[in-house]
Amino acid sequence: MYRFLWRRLPGGTALRLAVVLLLTGAAVAALWYVVFPWLAPRVPIG
């Protein structure tokens, strides 16, 4: 699956790596600042 996704990315290795890092960073930021603050109060640990 990852190999398939890698091949679908545009450009050479450097550009693909940059795109992967950018997308990963965006996903982590969305999780940290949007999803987790919403989810945390719903988790039953004090």
């Binding site: 699956m1 940290w32 987790f36 945390a40 109060p41 039953p44 640990i45 004090g46």
Partner: protein, 208 residues
């Protein structure tokens, strides 16, 4: 079939990483949020103390506002939390909260606080270390009140009589000023509640 199994297996890796990240958020991300709120609340409380001295009155205050400053010497000289009014999720994100309707600091009845044990800076994480006779210092708007720990126990979440004006005696009229702190037990779980109770032993002028 093999393709499905392989894709599911490959998805487990990012899923695990997201879970790890969420765990890190619960431990540190929520704490950073509470630390920010505490800085603001303690600053505001300091302003109120400086502006009104002991004429500020004991409260009540609006939900989410700072009611008093809590210090527990047993937990270190740096242990200080602004207590907010209210015990809803929004209030407990800011710090330990005062159960609305229960006694205010120093008043006859039960001054009840609740706080997180694991997340949101975990203000009540070390309540289990308190021993009988330990001081709990509450700098309220009108004075400094010192309570002394009298008992510590673990109860089921349904045992709500610990927050009654006379704990364990619903409907009984209080004659002494008590304090109760509750938090989740054990750590990382909300299966039970750790309860620490104390009695007021001293009222003095606040040292700002």
């Amino acid at each position: 079939m093999r393709t499905v199994v392989r894709v599911v297996g490959e998805l487990c890796l990012p899923a695990g990483l997201v879970l790890l990240l969420f765990y890190a958020y619960l431990l540190w991300g929520t704490g950073a949020e509470t630390d920010r709120e505490q800085r603001v609340l303690q600053q505001r409380l300091g302003d109120v103390f400086a502006r009104h001295g002991e004429h500020a009155g004991p409260g009540p205050v609006k939900l989410g506002d700072a009611l008093a400053l809590l210090r527990i010497p047993r937990l270190g000289a740096g242990y200080r939390y602004a207590v907010v009014e209210g015990v809803g999720p929004a209030e407990l994100r800011k710090g330990p909260g005062h159960f609305p309707g229960t006694a205010l600091p120093g008043q006859v009845g039960n001054f009840v606080l609740s706080g997180h044990r694991t997340t949101y800076a975990a203000p009540f994480n070390r309540l289990d270390e308190l021993r009988r006779g330990d001081d709990i210092v509450v700098d309220a708007r009108d004075a400094r009140y010192t309570y002394e720990v009298t008992r510590k126990k673990i109860v089921d979440p349904g045992e709500v009589d610990v927050v009654d004006p006379v704990p364990g005696h619903p409907g009984k009229r209080p004659t002494t000023a008590l304090m109760t702190m509750t938090t989740c037990h054990p750590e990382f779980s909300a299966a039970q509640r750790l309860v620490v109770q104390g009695v007021l032993v001293r009222r003095e002028e606040r040292q700002d």
